[in-house]
């Protein structure tokens, strides 16, 4: 059963017909070809598919596309502006906060949510806040350093 939805993604409104059971992550990846948002599990455990929905951090594998109808989604593709990396992107690069890169988009979107809501988060609070985003490569040390660095930079600007 199809349903027509309009979702604003990274500032652009997209109207499309989707099956009602289509997950938001598949709508982003398959319908809009925004493949930066990844799928790492089936159980809302890994955080690879993290995006922002009306400014709130959500797992796009655990929402239906129809639930995003009329709402605004921000994905990793929306971070870079005019060829300039967002501070969170630059911080992951400058701190070697990624290796294979698969968890990175979701990790950055979660981290951005943390920074925006808790600009003064301590390293321990950052670690707790990122608990829902798994990384198998880095051991998290450089991820925490990257988030700390981005938080500091965003606080200054």
């Amino acid at each position: 059963m199809g349903q027509t939805i309009t979702v604003t993604v990274n500032g652009t409104a997209h109207t499309a017909e989707v099956e009602q059971r289509t997950l938001l992550v598949h709508f982003l990846r398959e319908t809009l070809n925004l493949t930066g948002t990844h799928i790492g599990c089936d159980t809302s455990t890994c955080g690879c598919c993290t995006v922002h929905l009306d400014g709130e951090t959500v797992l796009s594998c655990s929402l239906l596309a129809v639930q995003a109808d009329g709402r605004a989604v921000r994905t990793v593709e929306g971070l870079e502006q005019n060829g300039e990396l967002h501070p969170i992107q630059r911080a992951f690069y400058e701190n070697h906060g990624l290796q294979c890169g698969f968890c990175t988009p979701g990790m950055m979107m979660s981290a951005l949510g943390v920074i925006e809501q808790h600009p003064d988060a301590s390293d321990d609070e950052i670690r707790e806040a990122l608990e829902g985003n798994l990384c198998r490569c880095t051991g998290y040390q450089n991820i925490v350093a990257a988030v700390r660095s981005a938080a500091d930079e965003m606080a200054r600007s």
Binding site: T43, T45, E77, H96, G101, F102, E128, T138, G139, N142
Partner: protein
Amino acid sequence: MATTERLTSGGVGDAVLRKEDRKFVTGEGRYVDDLKLPGMLHAAFVRSSFGHAKINSIDASAALAMPGVHAVLTNATLPVETGVLSASNPGGDVRHPEQAILAKEFARYVGEPVAMVIADDRYLARDAADAVQVDYDPVPVVVDAEKALEPGAPLVHAEYDSNLVKTLAHVTDGFADALAKAPKKISLRVVNQRVTPMPMETRGCIGDWSNSTGEVTLYTSTQVAHFVRTFVSIVCGTSEAKVRVVTPDVGGGFGAKLNTYREEFAVCAASKVVGRPVKWIEDRTENAVATIHGRDQVQYYEAGVDENGKILALKFDAVQNNGAYNQLLTPSISHLTLFMVPGCYDIQDVSITIRQVFTNTTPTDAYRGAGRPEATHGIERLMDAIADDLGIDAAEVRRRNFIKADQFPYASATGLSYDSGDYHATLEVALELSKYAGFEARRAEAAKRGKYRGIGLSTYVEVCGLAPSAVTAALGIGAPGWEHSTVRLHPTGKATVITGTSPHGQGHATSWSQITQTELGIPFDDVEVIHGDTAFQPYGLGTYGSRSLAVGGIALYRSLGKVREKARELAAHLLECSIDDLEWTGTSWQVKGSPDRAKTIQELAYAGWTSASLPEGIEPVLEATTFHDPPNFTFPFGTHVCEVEIDQATGRVEVVNYTAVDDCGNVINPMIVDGQVHGGIIQGLGQALFEETVYSEDGHMLTPTLVEYLVPSAADVPPMTLHRTTTPSPSNPMGVKGIGEAGTIAASSAIVNAAVDALSVIGVRHLEMPMQPARIWNVMQEAKS
């Protein structure tokens, strides 16, 4: 000059930020699930829900009736020539039962693929797979390797008289005497539990078969594109020259993708049937049963020691659970255990027996460290057991047993030649950095807070740089261990480096560019690195076994040297001098002492291309290729020190301090090396504290998702203090050793030794992994009662 300040470009020794990263932080990485081909269909697999069952019939009629379903393939209809192949044949007498691409007659583990559905989209493919009716007759199951060896155990493969795959044995001549004469014997049983690699990207592949040309392109998330190509050609019955395997960005491997899997063959064969590209993306629950597992080895140690704790003889008997079939290297993994049984200790008399066993479980194969973490974990537990038994400090018992710096190259009792090392040095640095001497005060302070605090050591050596081809041949492995590189200079002076290594997070594009800048004077930013596409490169062996730098990096180093020497002949010709009159400045050839008479490497690249005037016997173009077969393995080593606190009320183990001192020889990029160590340690921590792949007695998978199978999160891991010593390898001209697996090999025993030390105050002398709170709480209750 090398620096630890992070740079955006640089040469050997510099901490250069990764040129790979921009696409990953912007979401422009291209993993296999991001690819779409015209007309592409989607596959889903019907998998056995029984640990062992006879397949009576498969009824696909309901699935085929669904609009948009194109085919349902089974063993009878999938067009392949053979089953999954193994490259691994240690000793030549391994049992290799047929592993059909889709199960034939019997399914032998939960998750074994039985049928394959091809449909318009992945939702429909999944629905249709669920509509396929398979009639099974369950038969007896065995999942535990030791039980599988008992008389009367259910047979995984009825054509054999037992579940034994192969026995690896190695006994030194003096062993029996040495053990008999030892004044004291110390025994220990250690279980190295089954774990699952769990790269964040599951497996996935797209097969694209052209029925008009017979050409097939396979896009797959792999560490070994060329192996996959060779085996696709054999399994699918086409010329290897018609098969192209493309590795897009790979979201982690850890050995899980060092393999050739049924699904890779199946999508190619299915594409041939439907005449359109076929994509399959593994979901996480599938990954837990369909992708190889690691470890699963039960070990029995008996050490004959003298009164000072020196080991005089070491007996090691182990049972290795191979799972239901042999995958690419399954029988070879415990051979790496065999090699490293003596660890970093001077033990010349050993008796080693490893029995490999079939069970009704997912096959095991290489998981980060691959056989070596098992050896290291066991002997490091044993060293603590010896220290405990004799009342010697854990560091001191290691000092007394270490191979000494002046004994290298060291001939091990298992036939290896350890290249170089200074084990005492890393130990002393680690003890200093971790404030080992002052630990008892921290234990006392923690006790006041209701915590048992302990400290643990792991001193390790690993065998890396897999592998000299003569050794792989001696082991019966039907594949070599060399690596390839090509260096190509373009007319504009830019360089393309083609490498047979297959990075999936290790940053080879960055490190290989650094080596190119240092050795050939081409700036870091002017180097492009190509890997993982069989259409563009000669055969490459891929990335695993901490081999990329020590084998592939040396192949690159040698090609760069060849190009530089060819450039020298060209420069001598153009400058009208002898090659002996020239000196290399780092970026150009110049007449000695005459900077005005010089040719830059870029000028020489152009001259080589235009070929207007070439010296006699020199072909156009500055390009060189090397196939480098390493003369020996490399042997990185180090000492890790861990401190844990255990909650006296709940049994929760928390790592509160972690110090790692590693020696991987010379370092190309210290930032990348540190990242490898961080990640490696946390995978070892995962096995020590959380991770265990569990089957029920009747063969059901009890840890099928990341809800039951716990991998460490940011909240679970400690900050780590890293340090390095540098003992170059004499086995290669860059003096490098490899670092990809060191952290994982070292960490689990450091953490378990710390936990045992913490609970030693209540009489605990050994702990098994994973040290989840319930297990530790039970141990504490038993110890107290």
